[in-house]
């Protein structure tokens, strides 16, 4: 057996209820998020992604089954504060999650509930702002920042709590590719420092950056694997109303016109490198 997982989800069932009717959303999800792992969760609208994400730090509680964060059961109220410190969430709308009038106060907000001594607080805020590249904005009001900058501040607020896992619930949906790149850089850096990242996303190019991709359909896991394993399943993905990253679509069209060109490239850098290999002519492919 491998070391104990950071987050363990077992046979998770969850329904929304109203007017005596039940709308099942999650129907038996079992998964693990390991320490330092970057997991992407994709699936069409209504497949249960956000509902699943909200279970990872006890914002929603299972009807059946269980979620443990380093062994702490989210159904036990006494653990919730610690669970939410360890697993922080960033949501879709940049404007809905900034609460203070100055960036540094916003980043410090979560710490005030954790009884961190004031001098340590200042250090943590500095570290967090540096980690998201927003130290120059420390004294600024957040409402004039761009969407990407606001999301970086929101991530900073979570980092100040020294979490083990960052859950991004469509945190880049409202951003342009410039803003997405800003967030992606931050995620890469955090991932490099050993923080686990779970990103729920509609952008296949973001999922291509993860260690592992989980595809949800009707509240169940339909497909799971490395980005390459998952994106190879074009037909199934299209049935699930998903897609491959743009780099992959381009690669397969190039492959169609030039069969020697690989058709399973999904990251932008991979594609650019492959083009370099094919155009710089004499580079020999030695391996294999």
């Amino acid at each position: 057996m491998s070391a104990s997982p950071l987050i363990e989800v077992k046979d998770l069932y969850f329904s929304y209820r109203t007017h005596g009717e039940t709308f099942p959303v999650l129907r038996g999800i079992t998964l693990r998020v390991n320490r330092g792992e970057h997991v992407a969760v994709i699936g069409h609208n209504g497949s249960g992604k956000s509902t699943l994400a909200k279970h990872l730090n006890g914002l929603l509680l299972p009807d059946e089954g269980a979620v443990w964060v380093q062994g702490l059961d989210t159904r036990e109220k006494k653990h919730l504060r610690e669970i939410r410190r360890r697993v922080g969430m960033v949501f879709q709308h940049p404007d809905n999650q900034l609460v203070a009038t100055i960036v540094e106060e916003d980043v410090a907000f979560g710490l005030e509930n954790l009884s961190v001594p004031p001098e340590e607080m200042a250090d943590r805020v500095t570290d967090a702002l540096r980690a998201v590249g927003m130290e120059d904005f420390r004294k600024r009001p957040p409402h004039h920042l761009s969407g990407g900058q606001k999301q970086r501040v929101a991530i900073g607020g979570i980092l100040a709590m020294r979490p083990d896992c960052l859950v991004l619930d469509e945190a880049t949906s409202m951003l342009d590719s410039f803003g997405r790149k800003e967030i992606l850089q931050v995620v890469r850096r955090l991932h490099g420092e050993g923080i686990a990242v779970v990103s729920v996303t509609h952008h296949m190019s973001e999922a291509a950056e993860a260690d592992r991709v989980i595809v949800l359909e009707k509240g169940r896991i339909a497909l799971e694997g490395t980005p390459r394993e998952v994106f190879r399943e074009r037909e199934q993905l299209s049935r699930l109303r998903l897609d491959v990253p743009e780099a992959g679509r381009i690669a397969s069209r190039v492959h169609a016109g030039h069969p020697g060109f690989p058709d399973d490239l999904y990251r932008r850098e991979e594609l650019v490198e492959a083009v370099e290999r094919f155009t710089c002519g004499k580079v020999e492919v030695n391996h294999g």
Binding site: A247, I250, E276
Partner: protein, 288 residues
Amino acid sequence: MREPFLTIRNLSHTYMKGTPLEHVALREVSLEAGRGECLAIIGHTGSGKSTLIQHLNGLLLPQSGEVTVDGLHLSGPKPDVKALRRKVGLVFQNPEDQIFEKLVGDDVAYGPFKMGYPLQEVRERVRWAMELVGISFDEYKDRPTFALSGGQKRKVALAGVLALKPDLLVLDEPTAGLDPYSRNELLNRIRELNRKEKMTVLFVTHNMEEVATLADRVCVMAEGRVAAEGTPREIFGDTRLLAEHQLGPPEAVEILHALHRRGHPVNPGAYLTEEAAGEILSLIRERE
């Protein structure tokens, strides 16, 4: 020459005028859209995009300058806002703010009902609008709105506006938060409305893929001014313009820009997947 459908001339707007918090949002903006045209407005947070579109259905009235929609002048002392709102449908960014009825069907019916259409016509319009955005009327009309996913809410909000069959459809970030399939589907539907039903469309977006597939013309806003205007091809091909306004181009363009930087003679304005693949193919063939 035929009068354009929408004319904006020298429109300026200042928030909190005469207070220490005074903030100039629009400076002498001039813009036109012909009947049946599809115009994209892009630009950073705070560039004035939202302030601009709030003038189009009379949520804001011109402080100085003119706004004319289909011959209706909004600059006079008593503009006919009611008539304006029959012509212009505005879909805001956050769908959850626009949905207030308990059931999906009732929510979509609210507008046409208030407009005083007979019940049978209201029903027909609701069915038409829901099917148009890809939500089955029979399956969803009696579903509670709160149990919808974010993407489904967005579609319901859009259907509520489409049910009014406006001449000018104004959309703020229409596909943010939608899965790839729903995104394509919605873009195709909007394009159909635009091309077939000659509905004039104006949309604000962060998503350059959206611009690429939908827009006839793009207007780049910066600091309350129109900074540039052109076809998607002209705008995406202009590296300096994109960098200056921190606009992230479509992924295909980014890949081509990356190749261009490495000295490959590709045309970075080729923003469609097919075109980008074609550019790469001709690179590869050239070296053989």
